[in-house]
Symmetry: C2
Subunit: 250 residues, 2 copies
């Protein structure tokens, strides 16, 4: 905990995940958290702590990661927002908004829901414009089959199959509120929302759905894999660079 | 002209314009044309010529630039497409399709229409995810006012006001077939199509429309500037990195 007195602000943060080892501060590797804390220290000396709604892996992007930042200086949210954007350069991070909040707001523990979007482009040619921003599959994938398979994952389930072996969550039982696939030509965007996610859950699910899209799995195979509650029954884990933290709901 | 015998193929090419001095081959500066010709020379020794439907400026992107390529080796369009994509790496260029065509097809001279898209994002925070892919304006812009102003530019006009002083076209009189603005939150995409464009015409028009969006010009001021047929009456030229060559029609 930061020493009193401190001021807390809620932030919405967009970032390109490519140069980062993830959201969370690490030894000897750049993180979004560290970039923001170091920017804040330039105008708010003392202690600075910044916590995100989720801990994203290396290479994962964010349309809007909610965070809270504690600083030992009072300033307007507007000034904080501008100062962070000015000083966080040249990192590909943009603070979209800032708002003063009370100390009982916590970006992680107060969040009631997280939303992710995973982008897949299925086409033979490589990606020139969207390289590093979507998962490139060098063949056409069947979005309808993926959509059918995804229905098996909605609701309360034991998601052991779709959970990293390093996951530190107490329980593999989670509620998946929604999985919606939106097609746009060769691209499909998988939108997922849930109160919380297990480690690598989105990428494990998307990698498995891709096997269905490729015709290698039948939609019902996803149900069988889920019910097996066995990590070895998961499809390949989809790469980080197609994943976006989209929103946290409070 | 390339020596006989040669084989001609039509290509559709996506590229990220950031590392390039433009489409066209130049001394001492990387170009998309050069990257493609050098890739082709690796499997089709002899002469290689590649011509695009348009000559884009440094930093301008393409969703689908049509080009034709002449090589002194017969091969299937499928093999050509794959070989170009394999060998053009690590340049951010993707050959989306290839098709064998007769020698009377010319990517530039056969084109009946060109289409461009210009992306503008109006918001105070910088762009983290779309940096270099859209023009960032650090304030909100009025899309409806821009839409109204654009109507004055539709049809047959003397576009001297919206033409680079370096433009080599014989006449400043051109037909603008369509300008449509599509809003998506803080982003507006300006879609323009015409049989042909003057040098810097799109960027000159978009830079002027932006002044309207910012409230500094009235929509009718664009009509007055057009009718003046005076380059000094143009608004600022919009930056290259928001511009995309979208399509050529034959």
């Amino acid at each position: 905990m930061i020493a009193e007195p401190f001021w807390r602000y809620r932030l919405e943060i967009e970032f390109d995940g490519r140069p980062f080892a993830g959201w969370q501060r690490q030894k000897n590797a750049p993180s979004v958290q560290q970039a923001i804390e170091e920017a804040a220290l330039q105008f708010a000396p003392g202690e600075v702590h910044c916590y995100g709604a989720g801990r994203t892996d290396a290479g994962v992007h964010a349309y809007a990661m909610t965070a809270h930042i504690d600083i030992q200086r009072e300033m307007s949210a507007f000034d904080l927002n501008n100062a962070l954007n000015a000083l966080v350069r040249p990192h590909p991070i943009a603070v979209l908004s800032a708002e003063a909040v009370s100390a009982d707001f916590h970006a992680r523990f107060s969040a009631a829901e997280r939303q992710y979007i995973y982008r897949i482009v299925g086409r033979r040619p490589p990606l020139a414009l969207e390289a590093g921003k979507a998962w490139h599959i060098p063949y056409t994938i069947d979005h309808d089959a993926m959509r059918e398979a995804a229905q098996h994952l909605i609701g309360l389930h034991d998601f052991t199959t779709f959970r990293s072996v390093q996951c530190q969550s107490n329980s593999p039982v989670k509620t998946m509120t929604e999985i919606t696939l939106t097609s746009d030509g060769q691209e499909v965007a998988v939108f997922l929302r849930a109160p919380s996610f297990l480690h690598n859950q989105v990428r494990s699910i998307v990698g498995t759905l891709e096997r269905v899209g490729a015709g290698r799995w039948q939609p019902d195979d996803v149900k069988t894999a889920l019910e097996a509650a066995d990590r070895s029954r998961c499809g390949p884990v989809a790469p980080a660079h197609g994943l976006y933290f989209a929103k946290a709901v409070y």
